[in-house]
Symmetry: C2
Subunit: 344 residues, 2 copies
DNA sequence: GGTTAGCACTCTTAAGCGTTGAGTGCTATT
DNA sequence: AATAGCACTCAACGCTTAAGAGTGCTAACC
C-alpha cells in the first residue's frame, strides 16, 4: 500500500478542511488560491489524481472538484487525534462548571446536563451513555410501601445513580418489616457490583433461606427481580439537544438516528465498541453500527465516575462535520465530567 | 354569516377527506368520480366556488383543485367530534391493555407507555403531560442517606407518581434520625396536595419550630426545598415516538416542535388550555401556542388518575392528518389510561 | 331556479435544447 | 518534477414549447 508523503497529506487536509467549511466540491485552482502552497493548479491536479486513485477523495462527476471519501475523513480525523489540539474551550468550560457544580443533583442528572451543554455548544445531537448496569456498585437499598402488596425499591449506587423499581409481593408487609429487610440487604450487599449481587442471589439463595426468617427469605426472592431485570432507569439512555438536529440529514436519516437511540441495543453495542480504549474516538460513517447511518459520524469519549464504571459521552453529526473544533470539545467535556464525578 | 346546507357540508367533507388521503388539491371532476354523488362536475364547481368564498377551501393557483383552509379543517374536525365515531381500535386496545397491565410499573411509566403505544399506532409524535405538580396528593415521603451531608428524598404520590430529589443539609444525620423525620412528615402531610403542603410549610413553619426538636425543624426547613422547587421529575414531560417524526414537516418545523417540547412552559400552557374542558380536543393550526407551528395540529385528550388530578395525552401531526382515524384513537387511549389508573 | 354541457382561459409541470462555466486530464515545454 | 496550454466533459441555468388539469362563465335544459 502506497503511503502519503508530506505534500499529499497537506493537500488532502486542505481539501477536506475546505470541504467541511464550505460544503462544496473543492477544485485544484481553489486550493492554490486559499492555501499559498507555492504550486500551480496543474500540480495540485496531479496530486489529486493520485489521492483519488488511493481512495481518499472522489469526484461527484467528471467536471467537478473533489470531495473526501470516508477513507479521507478517517485519515483526516486520525491526524487531528494525533495532534491533540487543545483548542480554547474556555467558554464551554465555564458553562460546564457552572451547570455541573450545582450540588443538588444526582450523577444521572449531572451526566445529562453535560450532554445538554455539549449539544448546546456543538449544535449537534449529544448523547450520553451511563455505565453498564453490571458494573454499578450498590450503596444502599431501601423499600418503601407503595400499595397493599406492592413495594417501591430505591437503589442508590456508589457512583450516585438512583433507580426506582416497583415489585409486587404475594402478601402485605408493614413498613417496619420492609425496613428490616432493607437493613439485612444493605449489610449483605453493600459495596458489591450488581453483577456480583446477581450471582449471589441466583446462586446462594436456597442456602440462606433456611438461615433467616421467612419474611426476609421471601423478600430476597423478590429482590431477585430487582437485580436480575434490566433495572431500566440505570441504563436509561440520555439524549439531548434534539432541537439541535442537524440541518444536513434527510428525514429518513433523522428517523433512523432517533429510532436507534430509542433502542437500547444500539447504545450497548456502542459502549461495547468503546470499551477497552480510553479517550476520544471518532467513528466516521456509522454503517458498521446501523447500515442506514452511513453519512453520519460519531465523536465520542469515555468518562469515569469515580469508581470502576465507565460511561461515554459524545455527539452525532454529519460525516462532514468540523472535527477540528468538535473533537477537542467532546474530549474536554468528557474530562470535565470525569473530574466532577470523581470530586464528589 | 351564511350557513352550510347538507350538500355543501357533504362536499366539503369529501374534499377534505380526499385531500387528507391523497395530499393533492382536489378537483371537481375527482369528487364526481370518487363519491357517487349524482351531480355533475359543473355543479360541484359552483358549490366549490361558494365554499371558497366562505373561506373553507382555497386554490393553490388558478388551475388547481381545492385545498382545505384551517377553517375548513376546523369544521371537518368539529363534525367528527360530534359524530363520536367509535371506530374499531381493538388492536390498539389489546396492545394497550397488554402493555399497561403489567403490574411492576409506577404511574409515570404507565403514562409513558401509553404515549409510546399511541405513537406506535398513530405514526405521529405522541406526548403525555402528567398532572400539575400542585394537584398531586402526597402519600409517602422517605429520606435516604445519600452522602455525608446529602439526603435523597423519595416522594410517592397517591396517584402513583414517584419522584426523587437530592437535598443538601448543613450537617450529617444518621439514617435513624432521617427515619424519624420521615415518620413525622408522613404523619403531618399524608393525604394533602403538594399545593397545600407548600402553603403549610411556608406559613406555619416558625410556629412548629418551637414545638418539635431541632432535628426535625431543620429537616422541615430543608423540606421546603423539596416542595417548593419544581420537583422536576413529577412534571417531567413525556414524549414518545420521536422516530415517528412526521414526513410532512420541514426541518425547521421539527426543530420547533422539539424545542417546544423541551420547554416546560409550552406544556404547561397547553395543559392550561385544556383544563376545564373534558374529553378530546383538536387544535388545528398551533399558531396560538407557538407561531411557527402554523401547519401543525394537536389532537389531545384529558385523562384522570383516580384522584383529582388531570393530565393530558395526545399527538402532534400535520394539519393534514387523518382525523377520522386519529381522534377516536386518542380518545380511546385516554379512556383506557383513565380506566387503568383508577383501577389500581 | 337548480343543473348541466361546452368552451375558452389560466397556470403548472415536464421535456427538449442550446449556452455557460467550472474543473479536469493530457501533452508539450521548461 | 513542475507548469502552461488546451481540448474535453458535464452539471446548471435559462429559454421555449407542449401537454394537461382544472377552472369560471355562458347558454341551454328540466
Amino acid at each position: 500500500m502506497e503511503t502519503l508523503d508530506e505534500r499529499r497529506k497537506k493537500i488532502l487536509c486542505a481539501i477536506i478542511q475546505s470541504h467541511i467549511d464550505l460544503n462544496i466540491p473543492i477544485g485544484s485552482f481553489f486550493i492554490t488560491q486559499k492555501f499559498s502552497v507555492g504550486l500551480s493548479s496543474a500540480t495540485i491536479r496531479n496530486t489529486m489524481a493520485k489521492l483519488e486513485e488511493l481512495g481518499y477523495i472522489s469526484q461527484p462527476h467528471t467536471s467537478a472538484g473533489r470531495v473526501p471519501t470516508e477513507k479521507g475523513y478517517r485519515f483526516f480525523v486520525s491526524t487531528l487525534l494525533e495532534e491533540q489540539t487543545l483548542a480554547g474551550n474556555s467558554e464551554l468550560s465555564d458553562e460546564l462548571s457552572g451547570k455541573l457544580m450545582l450540588t443538588e443533583k444526582d450523577n444521572g442528572k449531572i451526566v445529562k446536563e453535560a450532554a445538554n451543554t455539549l449539544s448546546l455548544f456543538s449544535h449537534y445531537l449529544a448523547l450520553a451513555i451511563p455505565p453498564k448496569t453490571e458494573d454499578i456498585v450498590l450503596k444502599h437499598i431501601k423499600f418503601i410501601k407503595y400499595e397493599d402488596r406492592k413495594v417501591l425499591a430505591v437503589l442508590v449506587s456508589e457512583e450516585g445513580m438512583i433507580s426506582n423499581k416497583i415489585i409486587e409481593l404475594d402478601r402485605t408487609y408493614s413498613q417496619k418489616q420492609l425496613d428490616n429487610a432493607s437493613s439485612y440487604l444493605n449489610g449483605k450487599f453493600h459495596g458489591l457490583t450488581i453483577k456480583i449481587i446477581r450471582e449471589e442471589i441466583t446462586g446462594q439463595l436456597h442456602l440462606d433461606k433456611a438461615a433467616c426468617d421467612r419474611l426476609i427469605a421471601n423478600l430476597i426472592a423478590l429482590c431477585r427481580e430487582v437485580f436480575t431485570s434490566e433495572t431500566e432507569d440505570l441504563t436509561l439512555n440520555m439524549l439531548s439537544g434534539a432541537s439541535n438536529l442537524p440541518d444536513f440529514a434527510t428525514m429518513k436519516q433523522i428517523k433512523e438516528i432517533l429510532r436507534a437511540i430509542e433502542d437500547k441495543q444500539f447504545m450497548l453495542k456502542l459502549l461495547h465498541q468503546m470499551s477497552g480504549s480510553q479517550g476520544t474516538q471518532v467513528f466516521v460513517g456509522m454503517e458498521h453500527i446501523i447500515p442506514s447511518l452511513r453519512e453520519l459520524s460519531l465523536v465520542i469519549s469515555t468518562y469515569k465516575d469515580g469508581k470502576q464504571a465507565n460511561g461515554a459521552i459524545g455527539i452525532i453529526g454529519p460525516t462532514r462535520m468540523n472535527y477540528k473544533k468538535l473533537i477537542p470539545m467532546v474530549d474536554h467535556t468528557a474530562r470535565a465530567l470525569t473530574r466532577i464525578l470523581t470530586e464528589i
